[in-house]
Subunit: 305 residues, 2 copies
């Protein structure tokens, strides 16, 4: 039961109230795959430049992530730099150098094509569709998107998500995509666009999962110190799809135990919370599955009534 | 097991994106008492002017609220008018006429003084202290406050809450009172100020309850339409203390079943959510206890995992 993940593998420069790192491993695909790797075998599709550090490749390999689909192209790796506001609820992009990512044309290795789970990280909707088209008989496909695609590439995006089982999206983007301020209505409108399952991420406030006849709401994990929120949403996605893949769950099955979906959301929140505890991907250098399960149990305890 | 509630009984003018009402029954004491009345017998201490409408008195009586402590003074009833922003997360005060409230000097009727539960609505900390001092052997005392008292009457406020078992406060006010941005740290700092139980209200995002060795977090109820959020925080307070009074719970007991506290928070959220469904107190004209318990059960369902 492998999971295929497509998205960016990048270098990030990040400044938060807790410090500044000029260059560190980042990118949606990186965070999703590291997070999902605690739950299921994960194969990535991405592109890096000749400057990609073998130590960073080593970190991914150490989590048993399949790098057969990680292409190395002539040029430099995608670079992004940003600075967070004092309360870390906003961030300003200081620099975006697409580099080798500008000509990324994902090609799936043969043994990726028959895998049952596919997570399309936040990239151009056309590329997400091209990856989807290369998969045979995928059981569960979903992905993430962002305000840029919603605003400036709406038709492409709608064409893309029509084929998805689930969409992961944050609250402001759900409002933008649907035109509804109320999140229940926003979710209903998005379900009309194709995905039968919509997960709305609310940052520190938790997440909600909507299906045509059901919904689930969970608060966020209360961290005492958020060092760097970069990648938290992608780690949420990795925990969510990772848990579903680990359990072999088919979201298209209407008889599914709805608590399994809730648990996938909780594992998503758990992974997002760990991500924020250190800069970049640093928390994943030491994180263990027992720590993850202990935090899942904490969720049980602080929400029990 | 009666509950004594002190606070304002007022007339409000409210404008939201859904409409405008020039003058309707309002005030913290009104909302708290209406909400608590579904759980326990409630006695109010407040002042109104000669213009107070018998029909409004009738609404309170219809909920079996004891009005022996509702004084009528010469002059007009406290009037407040405000206008909500489009997303209803902010509001602007358009007018505040204290009227008879300016000289309010609460005096408790004899049979109020031996009641076990006391909720001090948001009024001057000195008045809250004076009411507290008139009670004999109260089992559980707590209250609400607001930014104005925190900023401009801090010493008085600290002297007042030192004697409380619990403080109900919203997230921005918890940050202002404690000086901590992080809500876990904020709660810990407030516990140091006196109350062993701190409930932080987060509006649509739910609420958190902190005790020295425990905490509980719950998402908010997802309404499809918020007509008027006025009074929602007070209705939360009424549901919270009302449930504790109904169950005869003593928060000072360290052996207390912590899920009882969680349930009190849920009932608080349930009552806050009903309040928003209509303008002012209108929802309480028809609301029934079975509707309340059904919504409590909905919370169980949408948070189960």
């Amino acid at each position: 039961m492998s999971l295929v993940v497509v998205g960016s593998v990048a270098y990030d420069g990040v400044e938060t109230p807790h410090g500044k790192v000029d260059r560190m491993l980042g990118g949606a695909c990186t965070y999703i795959a590291l997070s999902a790797s605690y739950f299921t075998h994960t194969k990535i599709v991405a592109v890096v430049g000749e400057d990609f550090d073998p130590a960073d490749r080593g970190l991914l390999s150490s989590r048993n992530i399949d790098l057969a689909g990680l292409e190395t192209a002539r040029g430099k790796t995608f670079f992004w730099a940003g600075k967070y506001s004092d309360d870390m609820n906003d961030r300003e992009t200081l620099r975006t150098d697409l580099n080798v990512f500008a000509d990324f044309n994902p090609k799936l290795p043969e043994d990726y094509r028959n895998q049952p789970y596919l997570l399309l990280g936040n990239i151009q909707p056309e590329l997400q569709r091209s990856v989807r088209a290369q998969m045979n008989g995928v059981r569960l496909v979903g992905g993430d998107t962002m305000n840029f695609w919603i605003r400036d590439h709406r038709a492409e995006l709608l064409k893309t998500i029509r084929e998805w089982d689930f969409l992961l999206i944050n609250d402001s983007e759900a409002r933008m995509l649907s035109g509804h301020q109320n999140l229940k209505r926003a979710a209903r409108a998005i379900i009309e666009m194709g995905p039968h399952t919509v997960v709305i991420k609310r940052g520190e406030y938790g997440a909600m999962l909507f299906r045509p006849a059901d919904f689930f709401i969970m608060p966020g994990y209360l961290l005492e110190e958020v060092f760097d929120p970069t990648g938290a949403g992608d780690c949420f996605a990795g925990g969510f799809i990772g848990y579903l893949a680990q359990r072999g769950i088919d979201l298209r099955d209407n008889m599914i135990d709805r608590r399994e979906l809730s648990r996938a959301v909780i594992y998503g929140s758990v992974m997002g919370s760990f991500c924020c505890e250190k800069f970049g991907v640093d928390r994943f250098r030491t994180l263990t599955r027992p720590e993850i399960d202990a935090r899942y149990q904490e969720f049980k305890n602080f929400t029990d009534f």
